[in-house]
Symmetry: C2
């Protein structure tokens, strides 16, 4: 692209867009061309939205979720049950639960999972704040971490640390995902679904 | 998402991202969450790149391509053949040619194609500047517009307007795209490929 080497502003924009997750170089180029011909006000609005969101949103001082003030919308909602805490890895996981509108408790965002190989130990994620929260009136914590080995290890660590405390620790059920065809379900999932099988007509 | 209604900065960012072409609401949400946890400097760089590109890039005064100065990199490149002009619809089309590095001429960006139903007539696109360019030493113009009806109509209009001028007007060949399986090629393409068939061993 000889003729394009002088396009430093354009190249710079393409590079920045291509740095975003799941946006390849071709999509970045397409987006950049779109933005160059979009109304200047639209580009300004996007540019400002980026800065304002990045600068104005901080971790909630209670749960670690994204918050525009000191507390997130969930922690400052008096209708939520503060004695029931769902432990997640990232703020994005909260969205999945909130979409259901089926969970009336609050959350705790770890900001990661234990991963000794990557140098992520208990003090690198928001575990201490979770244990501190558990000391004041929490009845149950639901572990909703990923089912990969780091997620499992983190769940096991939390369970062990809370064993002596008067708090119930549960985790999400394991089993077949909705709409799955047994033929294509992996072994570990089938094994767990079998172990966790449910009696449909319990007697006695 | 009751608890999220207070996230005006986040919602605003998601809306803006979702306004971009080929970015759905889910991708926009994922991008927004990524950006919230990205280093502030990275978000600033993206925000600035957007504004700088949008404000610093203008149409080349000769060909209408994106330019950071008065002329684009191609028009100001003395090694390019200024007597050979390839006519395209959008600046993005130029990229496709430049990737080949097989075209040594220059370009002319129409900024659209004729589309009477949408109110786009000859004066709504950069046709006059093309005709003016053709009056000073241009030997050939290659029409490289889309093969949809508006592109064809625009090509026909240009050909008609230049018929009396001493300039050769060509268009890109029509035929089977590379790697195509005849079974899946549409009728119009096959008809054009047949009409444009090439004698492989011309005699006499």
């Amino acid at each position: 692209m000889s003729g394009y080497q002088r396009f430093t502003l354009l190249e710079n924009l393409v590079e920045r867009l291509a740095d975003l997750p799941s946006i390849g170089r071709k999509s970045a180029q397409r987006l950049a061309f779109y933005l160059l011909s979009a109304p200047e006000a639209e580009v300004e609005a996007l540019s400002n939205a980026l800065l304002q969101a990045r600068r104005g949103i901080h971790p909630c001082t209670i749960c670690g979720n994204h918050a525009e003030g000191e507390r997130c919308g969930i922690c400052s909602d008096s209708r939520r049950d503060q004695s029931l805490i769902c432990v997640v890895e990232r703020p994005a996981d909260i969205l999945a639960f909130e979409r259901l509108a089926a969970f009336r408790g609050v959350y705790h965002v770890l900001g990661g999972v234990l991963s000794p190989l990557d140098g992520i130990g208990p003090s690198e994620i928001n575990l201490q704040t979770l244990f501190t929260r558990c000391e004041s009136g929490v009845v149950e914590i639901v572990l909703a971490l990923g089912t990969h080995s780091e997620g499992e290890a983190t769940s096991a660590y939390i369970l062990q640390r809370l064993q002596s405390k008067p708090v119930k620790v549960t985790r999400l059920a394991r089993g077949l995902p909705a709409g799955s065809d047994l033929e294509f379900v992996d072994e570990i999932t089938i094994r767990r679904a079998l172990e966790g099988r449910v009696d449909l007509a319990p007697r006695g």
